[in-house]
Amino acid sequence: MTGATTATAAATGNAAPARAGADPMRPLDREWSRFTPRQRLARWLVWLGVVAAVAWAVRSIDIIPEFLADAPAQMADLLVRMWPPDLAHYYPEVHTALVETLHIATLGTILAFFLAVPVALLAARNICHIAPLNWLAQLVLVASRSVNSLVWALIFVAVFGPGAAAGVFAIAFRSIGFVGKLLAEALEEASPGPVEALRAAGAGWGATMLKAVWPQVRPAFWGIALFRWDINVRESAVLGLVGAGGIGVVLNDAIDFFQWDRVATVLLAILAVVLVAEVVVNRIRGRLI
């Protein structure tokens, strides 16, 4: 009891020493709130902004009501046409396209790493000490990430012509930004101790990189490589829609001929490959890291 009263006295003394004499219970009547009025106003403004954005989008988006009305019927029709999947179509056509897709994803990832490692070294501030080069490397990484892989594929189809070459380059150029950014972050987190130790022992730049930096970033490196390969398998499946090789070409042909049972086969093949790739990547990651 006494402990409680002294504690209240201390609290009132801290909170409002001037008014404590008038009414000792008064400061306890104060209402506590989690946010200041300004924070509350800011939160309300954010919510208002969200609601306004959604309302604006709903009101002004160009949706054709007839299409919306018969959407369920059309969906049902599509599913009926897809069933049963034309599994006889799988071999050899879909199979070879699937193998080509995997080659595109893997070669694209390898090429991406060849191109991204130098850029990442330039972007890491603790490795390259020249600020303009850091900025240039960051710009390259941002540009690579901002352009979607399908847009890269359009560009490389214009450059190399339709085919898997465009796909490999599209995958590689899209991956540079992702791989380079994560690799540069891993490099910047590397402890400077081993680097200084090797430099003090008279090691050259190459030896420092190989023996002081590489062991520190190796787990991150393999993690990034596996993660990106997994993403690239998914992305390379659609590159064929713009003519950049792989299973997307087969999918596009089947859609253009309205052979929906074949479309279902291709979709099942893509789904299976993506799921298998995810399981494989998780297995390898579990073993490596």
């Binding site: 959604v54 941002v142 359009l154 070459a165």
Partner: protein
């Protein structure tokens, strides 16, 4: 004898690349040598390609902004698709995330919900967009539907993972006080994960904005359709204008969401 042999070998060990590493590199080179001819890649083709790339870039160089109305119209539609897809996707992901969390839902509910989320995630959004274009016609609606599926696949999974990491003590306390399921969710679960949820939602809005610039390639509305049409007409100066506009919009969105995220933290 063996001790001196060990001493002689020891200093070299830390610096020699391991055999696993060497074999891995060898396998990588062998695979590349095997796969490159499979895809019909050759030096002549690449050389011709790089020549073409020069001409292609030269034709892109003065970006042509004269048809800016078309550009703005496409960008605004992409923005609308992204906003709507994010709103609907988040609204669907909240209940699905709760149902997929192993600590909040029984296994006979969370297993099928997890399966649905995994399927949403496995199919690339462009493929989903094609199916929706065939099913519900050309236009922005198909784009919204496709991105809703992609959003559910992504954020419902993150929601479920965040929910599985919460401390169960507040949940037990609120439940012991006699609260119903909704009250438990609102007073014990939500406060623990609200800030992470907001982060996921912002991230998804960002990625929906990127993706909404693309679904137009298959006819699902937005700037992608304009871009694809410009490519097909070899209108490369307009293509470069569109690409610059897309990159600027994404960069701006990243800045804004970064600010909002910093303000919320």
């Amino acid at each position: 004898m063996s001790a001196s042999g060990h001493a002689a070998a020891a200093p070299r060990r830390p610096f020699a690349p391991s055999w696993g590493f060497r074999l891995g590199m060898l396998a990588l080179v062998a695979y590349t040598a095997y796969a490159v001819p499979q895809l019909g890649l050759s030096w002549e083709r690449l050389a011709v390609g790089f020549g073409e790339a020069g001409r292609f870039l030269a034709r892109m160089v003065p970006p042509n902004f004269t048809r800016w109305e078309l550009l703005v119209e496409g960008l605004v539609e992409s923005l609308q698709i992204a906003v709507l897809a994010s709103a609907i996707g988040i609204a669907l992901s909240l209940p699905l995330g709760v149902l997929a969390a192993r600590n909040l839902a029984p296994w006979w509910i969370n297993a099928p919900v997890r399966g649905v989320i995994a399927i949403c995630r496995s199919l690339h959004y462009v493929i989903v967009a094609i199916l929706f274009v065939k099913a519900i016609g050309f236009g922005a609606l198909a784009g919204v539907a496709a991105l809703v599926v992609a959003s559910v696949g992504f954020i419902a999974k993150l929601f479920a993972e965040a929910l599985e990491e919460i401390s169960m003590k507040p949940v037990e306390a609120v439940r012991a006080a006699g609260a119903g399921t909704m009250a438990v969710l609102i007073y014990a679960v939500l406060p623990q994960v609200a800030s992470r949820f907001v982060g996921f939602c912002l991230y998804q809005l960002d990625s929906n904005l990127r993706n909404s610039t693309l679904v137009g390639i298959v006819g699902a509305g937005g700037i992608g359709g304009t871009l694809f049409a410009a490519f097909k007409r070899f209108d490369y100066d307009f293509v470069s204008a569109i690409l610059i506009a897309i990159i600027a919009m994404i960069f701006l969105a990243e800045l804004v969401s970064g600010r909002v995220r910093a303000a919320l933290r």
